[in-house]
Symmetry: C2
């Protein structure tokens, strides 16, 4: 996963020089945390993690950086509702399952969907940029400890 970061870092470096953006310490460290995270962290969660490496970083910077990454195509927001937005450093096509009880999010692949063709009524109406399945349910951990 370190090499995973390296790849993303090189991508960020390239995009920054292309777009006249600066490769700051904050951007690098937010990218590092996001690339190694497997739990689709919120901005707040990412903030507390990055603080370990960049103690003076502000929450606003984390939000701003995530926004920049989304513009650059390096990150995505997971379309689940909840108080906090959840972010994903993996922008390759995949789907999400979310536990409506604890908020845990897991990735999954579903080839039949990914490779299937959208109905014409969709592609007629708009130029599609992203297609994903959202599954909601109650995970095993929450199922056991029902309140």
């Amino acid at each position: 996963m370190e090499q995973h970061f390296q790849k993303k870092f090189n991508h960020l470096k390239e995009l920054c020089s292309q777009k006249g953006l600066r490769l700051t310490h904050q951007r690098t460290e937010v990218l590092r945390e996001l690339a190694s995270a497997k739990d689709h962290p919120s901005a707040e969660t990412l903030y507390s993690r990055v603080k370990g490496r960049v103690p003076a970083i502000s929450l606003d910077t984390v939000y701003r950086t995530l926004g920049t990454f989304m513009d650059l195509g390096l990150a995505a927001k997971v379309p689940v509702d909840g108080d906090l937005g959840r972010f994903d450093g993996d922008v390759s096509p995949h789907h999400h399952v979310v536990c409506v009880c604890c908020g845990a999010i897991r990735d999954f692949i579903w080839d039949e969907v990914s490779c299937g063709e959208l109905p014409a009524e969709v592609t007629d109406w708009c130029h599609v940029t992203d297609t994903q399945v959202i599954v909601r349910g109650i995970c095993r951990d929450c199922k056991g400890s029902d309140s």
Copy 2:
């Protein structure tokens, strides 16, 4: 669509008496507006529409009522991000396309997905309650008037 409301109204009536909830004017009118809406309105939008019939209704009541409807299975929140939550009075299985530019949302059916089986890694991890596809893109109207 009036008969559509009638069906939902009867359902609401039944659920209310089952759960000891009261069939208030506000609940009835919010349901009527939601049942006839085809644009997946926000709470704010619904509020201004219902005001035509119930001038004194408060925004809080609309939010509270939508929450109640979701608990009762009469409404659902569309999992798209944006400043305002978007609500759907149609709880039958279907998918959504959203224009990331203007926020328009359209329903669609995709039988291959609806009838397909989720990968085991998903059903092993949680008890699934809802599966839907979210398509994001730019609609024709926005494509034309690009800024």
